[in-house]
């Protein structure tokens, strides 16, 4: 599988590590790569960062990058695509998610955080809000699975027309919602004012997932600050083991067989 790197991407290394930690064969693909080679991958991950400096809007320029023409074609063929943070913004800007009625135009966006409109980096939990089978990447998760992650973004507030929001809710496009450590969805748990408390959007076909918070930034025990860290005290192997957020990458591995 290919991890797409645009100028300004900054989370490619940890995304690559997370993929490899669950046994995926993955490699970085630069913006000026040969498109024939790009086409050959079995899945694509769009990592976090500030692609093309987030000029115009976060993800807006990268959505029109040459690599994305390939991703668009491959996604239409059913190939799995995971976008994280800036990658999620790119997927919404390119219309790949939510893709209501298969419409290729952008139907929703991740707007500036509210209140304040500023970048915020904070630990969060997200809960699976659709049946696991709704999305190929979550098929292996338990219903209501709670995944730890870090929200580190300035533009993560889901915004769309009232009609589009209503349809996204009704037709199961909100794959994950923000919650607290116990899985309770409270307004306090939403770090950015996102509509519907949405943390991740899935397309109609279930093969494209756009998630704002970074599961790979809480994907190993040494990153956790809960009981699992205490249990790993004095045990370096346990401390360095993948856990928590990597579950989403495991879902990707499982979907790819």
């Amino acid at each position: 599988m290919g991890i797409l790197v645009f100028p300004g991407t900054n989370s490619e290394d940890e995304t690559l590590r997370a993929c490899r930690a669950v046994g995926l064969e993955a490699q970085l693909v630069h913006w000026n790569a040969d498109l024939r080679e790009v086409r050959a991958f079995a899945a694509y991950v769009l990592p976090g960062g500030f692609a093309y400096e987030d000029r115009v809007r976060a993800g807006a320029i990268a959505a029109h990058d040459r690599l994305m023409t390939v991703v668009r074609e491959r996604a239409a063929e059913g190939t799995l695509v995971l976008g994280i943070c800036n990658g999620a913004q790119i997927l919404l800007e390119s219309g790949l998610a939510p893709g209501l009625d298969g419409d290729p135009r952008p139907q929703a966006g991740f707007a500036r955080n509210a209140p304040g409109g500023r970048f915020r980096s904070t630990h969060v939990y997200v809960k699976l809000a659709v049946p696991p089978s709704r999305c190929a990447l979550t098929a292996g998760l338990a219903s209501d699975a709670v995944v730890p992650a870090w929200a580190s973004h300035g533009e993560g507030r889901l915004a769309a027309s009232p009609e589009a929001l209503e349809r996204m809710a009704r037709e199961g496009h909100v794959a994950f919602v923000y919650c607290d450590a116990t899985g309770a969805t409270t307004p306090h748990a939403i770090p950015n004012g996102s509509a519907l408390g949405a943390a991740a959007i899935v397309n109609r076909e279930g093969n494209v997932l756009a998630i704002m918070p970074h599961p790979e930034r809480d994907g190993w025990t040494f990153m956790h600050h809960d009981a699992s860290r205490e249990r790993a005290r004095g045990d370096a192997a346990a401390m360095l083991a993948p856990s928590g957020g990597t579950v989403l990458f495991a879902g990707l591995a499982q979907a790819l067989g």
Binding site: T9, N10, F50, R120, G219, F222, A236
Partner: protein
């Protein structure tokens, strides 16, 4: 400030010109050189210097580049030790982290200030501060792993101070977040002394293995090698930055000074860093010895001259080959302008095409920013001259050692005068007048701007990008990253210096800063392996300002020697005083790097389990000088808590062993606000899930002073939640630490959101949620009202 438009005339006429006339000429050209410095240049060259040469010397001989007032004092710092892989001679020092898979790993550290630019244009000034420090670490051949920001602002009640604080925080975030380096540590103080002169210090860490170190020097035998400039095309920004940073800021010049601040481009830097990492790999594969250095003060001239001179060579640069953003830039702007996002390599000519292809094709720099590229701009020469050419003609030719060797000034120095001890005995008003411990006072201490939650600030910085962060900002006294995938090695980083202490006794405050920076990494379980200092002071030409500098250098040198931790890098920032007001509080800001052999042995500050024993390790003091409570109650306290080095050493050794033995569940230092704040901050994070409070014994059972001193004195030391109190106490005894050093003070207790509390025996019980609100509220509205300049 000088304008680039005045750079027409070829030379400054020295012969026959009087001092007054020369001083006028210097001012007219915006040069900060003194008349005697100018005459010295003329004498050595045996002719009138060209104006371009004057700008070159102006940069190289500035305080910022030459350390002309400070260098000989800095020799007093201890710089050697078993952990030192490279001491303070290049852009960054390197400390030995540990071995993994047969490789010796080092941590490169650099520490700089960007005070003046941040005062003038806060956003850009702070952002370019990050940009510069990142290049200092990058050019050692290291990959960036962490950032930290010590910040000092004027009071937030002042609209302009608020504007500066907001702009600085936004600037740091915008740059650090975009390049993708986690910001894991920092501190913030608000003090009237920073009203007209904020401090924006930055620390950067990089990782490299011993065989990857690249030096900022033309290697032996590099005569005839290419000098390759990489990065942004030169523009008009940042002309005169080095000289600007060595000026006392004058409000009237504020608009003119803005031109001297560089323009940040984190987007280009992101790609430039990654391309350079790729170049490091290829250089290592080919087993090449090359030179690499960042462009900072003095621009192309400063960087290439120092690269050549450090190797014992000269250099010749063709300014026509340097990419510029516009036609007709004056030669002096191309030569010494400080456009950001540039570095220079010294490589053998047969490697040049490979290097250029990495930057220009593989990472397509020219497509990333207009004019950005890698390009050969000159050659290393055996001849010991530094030569610049423009339009085929020499516009500068000077002996390179004269240009880069710097100059030295012996400044007049008046050491700080402290209150005599006879005076002190009678002025401990806390004991005499007897202000009492009260709930209201506890809340006011927690809400003090130097104590309250920093979350609204550090949340603007990405502390977890790169996926290596084990302890982000706010979780412990030091940040921790685990930078080598698969290896248990951790790197801890902390910063410290307390300006309130500095106003009482600058030298002892400097010693406290070293102790606390070290204490912070010990608190997480890391062994302190090295220090850096950024020495922020007033005017070196003012004997009292300079005296404070000398006293503080002696102070940090003494403390570092006593605790056996070397300095490997640092920076001096003078002229931090405004035209109308006094100098800033003397501010030697210290950073400490710690090494964790096994990150599974690290501890955060949050209480972990109800029923665990709590200990105070050190930390009690009778003196309230410089404390938050003294500031709030306006107590006339003129003595800082003393430092007992043998005891501090023993306590730290003991704690590191206790960490390694798994006896420490949580640890937090006792600093701003004192013991009560320490306990509260250990309890606050538990409010999120299963609240844990603390039950503290009657103060008279463990402290020899009254409750006011017991709970609010800032004597240093730690509070430890021991996972096994009996073993912890036994280990302390083995280390020869008596009950005065390691004291049981109480235990953790379970609570709920409604009932969790700090029970302070005779001082009453305090609802944790209410204390938390007092502590969280003050900076919550940091951005609510955006201030305007």
């Amino acid at each position: 400030m000088r304008s680039a438009g005045t750079l027409g005339s070829p030379a400054l006429r020295l012969i026959g010109a009087g001092d007054e006339e020369l001083a006028r000429d210097l001012r007219a050209h915006g040069l900060t050189l003194s008349v005697s410095e100018l005459r010295r240049i003329g004498e050595r060259l045996g002719r009138d210097p060209t104006l371009l040469e004057c700008y070159a010397f102006d940069a190289q001989w500035s305080e910022h580049c030459s350390y002309k007032s400070s260098r000989h004092y800095l020799r007093r710092l201890p710089t050697e030790g078993p952990s030192v892989m490279q001491g303070p001679q290049e852009d960054a020092g390197i400390l030995h982290l540990g071995e993994w898979n047969g490789k010796r790993y080092g941590v490169a550290i650099a520490h700089e200030s960007h005070n003046h630019p941040s005062q003038v244009v806060p956003f850009e000034g702070a952002a370019t501060g990050i940009g510069g420090i990142v290049r200092d670490v990058l050019c050692m051949g290291a990959r960036l792993i962490a950032l930290a920001d010590p910040l000092r602002f004027g009071p937030l009640e002042d609209a302009h101070c608020r504007y500066i604080a907001q702009g600085v925080v936004d600037g740091i975030g915008s740059y650090g977040n975009a390049i993708g380096v986690p910001n894991i540590a920092g501190d913030v103080y608000f003090h009237d002394g920073f009203r007209d002169n904020c401090l924006v210090n930055v620390v950067a860490l990089g990782l490299l293995s011993e065989d990857e170190i690249i030096h900022s020097a033309a290697p032996p035998g590099s005569e005839g090698w290419d000098i390759v400039l990489v990065g942004k095309a030169t523009d008009r920004s940042g002309f005169g930055g080095a000289a600007f940073s060595s000026l006392v800021l004058d409000a009237d010049d504020a608009e003119a000074n803005k031109g001297a601040v560089q323009v940040p481009d984190p987007f280009l830097k992101n790609v430039l860093m990654r391309a350079s990492y790729r170049a490091f790999d290829v250089v290592r594969e080919r087993r090449l010895t090359v030179g690499f250095k960042d462009l900072g003060a003095g621009g192309i001239m400063g960087c290439t001259a120092e690269l050549a001179a450090s190797g014992g060579f000269g250099a010749s640069i063709d300014l026509d080959r340097c990419p510029t953003t516009q036609e007709g830039l004056p030669a002096a702007v191309i030569a010494v302008g400080e456009t950001q996002e540039r570095l220079a390599w010294v490589v053998p000519p047969d490697f040049t095409p490979v290097l250029m292809s990495i930057y220009n094709q593989e990472y397509s720099l020219p497509a990333i920013a207009r004019g950005a590229q890698a390009v050969v701009v000159g050659t290393i020469t055996r001849e010991q001259d530094y030569v610049l050419r423009r339009h085929g003609e020499e516009v500068m030719r000077v002996p390179i050692d004269f240009l880069t060797g710097g100059i030295r000034y012996d400044r007049a120095c008046e050491l700080p005068r402290l209150a005599a001890s006879a005076e002190l005995a009678s002025t401990s008003s806390a004991e005499a007048a007897g202000p009492q411990f009260s709930e209201d006072l506890a809340r006011r201490v927690l809400a003090h701007h130097d104590v309250c939650s920093r979350r609204p600030i550090y949340e603007r910085f990405d502390s977890v990008v790169r996926g290596t962060t084990s302890i982000p900002s706010g979780y412990a006294d030091a940040g921790v990253v685990v930078p080598i995938p698969g290896a248990p090695l951790g790197v801890a980083l902390s910063v410290d210096h307390n300006p309130r202490f500095a106003m009482v006794d600058p030298r002892l405050a400097a010693e406290h800063a070293v102790c606390e920076a070290i204490r912070n990494v010990v608190a997480v379980g890391a062994k302190p392996i090295g220090l850096t200092d950024c020495l922020n002071f007033g005017d070196p030409e003012n004997p009292r300002d300079f005296g404070a500098f000398v006293a503080c250098v002696d102070g940090i040198a003494h403390a570092a020697r006593e605790l056996g931790v070397p300095f490997v890098s640092g920076n001096v920032s003078f002229y931090n005083r405004s035209a109308s007001r006094a100098a800033i509080p003397p501010s030697p800001i210290i950073a400490c790097v710690g090494a964790l052999a096994d990150v599974s042995r690290s501890a955060t500050l949050r209480f972990k389990v109800p029923g665990h024993a709590l200990f105070a390790v050190g930390g009690f003091a009778r003196r309230l000088g410089g404390s938050v409570v003294a500031a709030i109650l306006q107590l006339d306290e003129r003595e800082l808590p003393p430092l007992d080095y043998p005891r501090i050493r023993a306590e730290m050794t003991f704690l590191l062993e206790a960490h390694a033995s798994g006896l420490i569940a949580a640890a937090h230092d006792i600093s701003d606000g004192g013991l009560l704040v320490t306990l509260a901050e250990m309890a606050f994070p538990t409010l999120e899930r299963e609240p844990i409070g603390a039950e503290i014994f009657p103060a008279r059972e463990f402290a020899s002073f009254g409750p006011l001193q017991t709970f609010f004195a800032e004597g240093g030391g730690f509070v430890v939640e021991a996972s096994d109190g009996a073993s912890f106490a036994a280990l302390a005894t083995q280390h020869g630490l008596d009950a005065a050093s390691v004291r049981p003070i109480g235990k953790t207790v379970a609570g709920s959101q409604a009932t969790a509390a700090l029970h302070l025996a005779e001082c009453g019980s305090y609802d944790l949620a209410q204390l938390h609100e007092a502590w969280s509220a003050p900076l919550r509205g940091f951005y609510d009202e955006l201030a305007r300049p």
